[in-house]
Amino acid sequence: MQKTELLERSQRPLPMSLLLMAAVAVHLPLLLMKLPLKSYDTNLHIFFASHYLHHWWDPWNPKWYAGFSQTTYPPLPQQWIAVVSHLMGLEMAYMAVQMAAILLLVVGVYRFAKLWVSPRAASFAALACVFLGAESFLVYSAGQLGTTAAAPLYLNALPFLYEWVRRGSGRSFIKAVALFTAAAAAHHATLLFGSFFFALPVLALAYFDREDDSERVAAGAFIARTVTIVVVVSAAIAVVLLPFWIALIHYPVTQTPIPHPSRANYILSPQWGMNYFVVPYGALILALPFIFWRGSSVARLRPLLLGFWVAFLLGLGGTTPVGPILLGRAFNVLTMERFSYWASLLALPIVGALAMELCARFRMRAAVALSILAAFTCALAAGWTTYHPPDAENVDVGPVAAWLNRDGHDQYRYVTLGFGNKIARLARLTDASSVDGEWNSGRMLPELMRYGGGALTSSKGFHEAGLDALRAMLMHADHYGLKWVFVRDQYYDPLLAFAGWRPVDHLNDGTITVWSKDGVPPAQPLNAPQMPPHWQGVMWGICPFGSSIVAILVLLIPEKRRRAAEERYPVMRDGELGLGRMVS
């Protein structure tokens, strides 16, 4: 009797409270240290949030590109930051939203993995996601809040999709629609690609499972339910993100592609292979043969494996020709690290099964080895920002902001050179407007779109394309009211000197020089056609954020207890591996 109890306990999933505590123990200290502030994009999200904080109903942000519309980027995480910032300030609000996304990911991975493997294996998968290299890489090095916030919502929506298609559960239908819509409000690319990598495998699984038990589903019903949810979700997303679609249709991304190292060949450029393959995957690389073998061997895992495989290939960037072939022009617009992230998430159910089986067979030895590998993977990805910092140095932009904010200096526009991704922080602190920015898809100034350079502040890094854009912008300084150039890289000095700019002040112990041009008229607001009308601002303020509130509310609707048997976990005999649902 006692042996049976022990066996039963060993087949139970790890408690969700334990999984969440693990996530808190690993990530909360790092977030309290504000480690993401060192990443590429964190300051950008905080900058966007700062705008929502002060102008919730007006998505036109005049601080970058002489004015741009924030409807060009789904706003949900940033709006949540703005809301939470009332309690703890913008930076800590960012950390809080990111922490919430990590906790949601644990729940989402568990629920998603449970579709494919046994609950116990799913709980191992959820534990693995806490240490996932790709997650830490995106959170602490890339700062991709949109992607890391949308993925958990999406993963949490998928089991409801399965339930709806498989069993026609109305509650699941409502919850799936609400969560998919909220995921789209958090990140559009996750929605688009998630449909292929995540939703299609789940639909395929539901199709394969349709004759499994007493609740048989006719093919017609399956198709009708699938079409219904696709139509309803599409309509909901179309409405919630209407200003985004309007901006995208009227002003598609036609600018010259900007190079990104995630599109490099990771073998020919091993430094980028380290950055975009070894660090995000970490010890998961060791599990790749098992992922392929198990994903192929078990019939109902094959859709998952195919989703993983395609995402994996795309995540390899320019190492294979798959990206350019499948994505076409989008290959030169998207960054590829998100595909590695999605591939990692798709692999987790199988990895969870592997971990469970290893622990069942080798007990403590396996647990120790897996713990070391997981810790190493997470530590490498979290610490990578120290060894491979996005910015060479930590620039104190406070004095620059103070300078701009005094004596009417903010009547003119400014640009920085050599500030890296600190321009988002500077933009948040100053009242002045810049012609530069970091949200490339939102920029409309012809000087910036024509050449294929990224932010002007990093012109040098984009070589001739970046410098052409910088020269074009400086030539039109009068037109934009561009009077100030803040330089912390003497590389640019000759250009400014010969182009008619004069050094007029020094900041930060002389490390930053303020250059000025005479005769520049004060900046005027651009009467840009991209400026969203008021009704779009109101929609933008209500719908995306509202979609998340609706999602929270519908999740409170209790699920029907389908069968009591499902709450019990199968008991295995000694020595039997926990294949659970994986046995085909």
Partner: protein
């Protein structure tokens, strides 16, 4: 799993893994354009099986600044060190070239036999002021089944130790105080005057040429804006002189200027409104740059060539040569410029070559050249 699905699964796993490996091999052997951007154009293997291939590989290595690899591949590397090789390309003193990156290059075969060849390597450097071109003719020799280039190293110029007496004019400005940090000055702006102005139609648009004189007795930091006025008396476009002008004018100095209006048509223009700006600035007449051996070369390849010599004792990091060209009646015909990508060392001549458009070359009978300079930590 005993029903055969295991075998099918094993086959699927093998197929997927094999396909992955094949894709990686294809992507590595024939990299995409986006991937090549990060390797300097080099693929997985670069064989120097022809003289041009050897020079092309060298160019690729220079582009990614793989100095050691480039140096190790040279046939005459015993004649100089790797550091000298790098300095020969990037300059011995800080200059535009020092911070430039190789944007692209071209390879032209000049002459070839079975065992050696002459190949021209045209290098296009991306500098902060624009693309700069340099050309090297390389002797390439066969070494087994490979070819190796001999690098024609230009020796570092050596300036003999000497004392140079400095006797130059200098103007200082006393500002009101620390708060006067961005040009709110108590004094009138220096008097400057546009002494000549001429709009011309070129293929790329309208170009406004002219000359600006500092009539004052104090130095002036100047710039010129031009606005094209249409037939309906409305402004068509407004542009500035940018770097086609010498912004620092000492008393009684004249600078040419050139303002581009891309895609504009002179037929649409009824008048041009000129707006010169001037600001009082501290300045000095040092460094004095002498222009020597000036020569107008006729078409084809019309150009103004000569040498600039730094007469002072300090290194000038960047020199900008501006040429003003006149016809036989003394009317302004064209303004052109060139940046020197090497630093000017004291008393050391540095050649310049300003290109003149072919169609204008025949009209030109005289010219005037001025040089503006930039030294690290200072303004032009």
């Amino acid at each position: 799993m005993s029903d055969g699905s295991g075998n099918r699964g094993g086959l699927l796993a093998v197929v997927l893994m094999a396909a992955t490996i094949v894709f990686v091999v294809i992507g590595t052997m024939w990299p995409t354009k986006a991937a090549l951007a990060y390797t300097g154009g080099q693929g997985f293997a670069s064989f120097s099986s022809t003289p041009q291939a050897a020079v092309r590989n060298l160019g690729d290595e220079i582009r990614v600044e793989a100095w050691q690899k480039a140096y190790d591949g040279l046939a005459n590397k015993a004649q100089f060190t790797e550091q000298e090789f790098e300095h020969d390309l990037k300059g011995y003193y800080p200059s535009l070239r020092t911070y430039a990156t190789l944007d692209h290059f071209e390879v032209f075969p000049l002459h070839a036999t079975d065992n050696d060849a002459e190949v021209r390597l045209k290098l296009y450097w991306s500098s902060v002021v624009g693309i700069m071109e340099s050309t090297r003719d390389l002797h390439v020799v066969r070494s087994g089944d490979q070819w190796k280039a001999e690098w024609p190293l230009e020796k570092k110029p050596v300036v003999p130790p000497q004392v140079i007496p400095v006797n130059y004019l200098r103007w200082d400005v006393i500002y009101r105080g620390a708060g006067d940090d961005w040009g709110a000055q108590d004094v009138d702006a220096p008097h400057v005057r546009i002494v000549d102005m001429r709009p011309v139609q070129r293929a790329e648009g309208v170009v406004v040429l002219g000359e600006l004189l500092n009539e004052d007795v104090v130095p002036a930091f100047v710039s010129v804006n031009a606005t094209l006025i249409g037939k309906n008396q409305k402004a068509i476009a407004s542009e500035g002189s940018f770097d086609k002008i010498s912004h620092l004018l000492l008393p009684k100095q004249v600078t040419p200027f050139l303002i581009n209006f891309p895609n504009a048509s002179l037929a649409d223009v009824s008048s041009v409104r000129m707006t010169p700006f001037s600001t009082l600035v501290p300045a000095s007449a040092d460094p004095v740059i002498e222009i020597d051996n000036e020569k107008l070369n006729p078409a084809p390849d019309a150009s103004l060539t000569g040498q600039v010599i730094d007469q002072s004792g300090q290194v000038v990091n960047v020199a900008h040569v501006l040429g003003t060209f006149y016809d036989s009646t003394g009317h302004l015909v064209w303004v052109a410029d060139e940046y020197l990508d090497h630093a000017l060392l004291p008393q050391t001549p540095e050649p310049f070559n300003i290109h003149i458009p072919e169609d204008l070359a025949r009209q030109i009978s005289s010219e005037r050249t001025i040089v503006s300079t930039y030294s690290s930590g200072g303004a032009a």
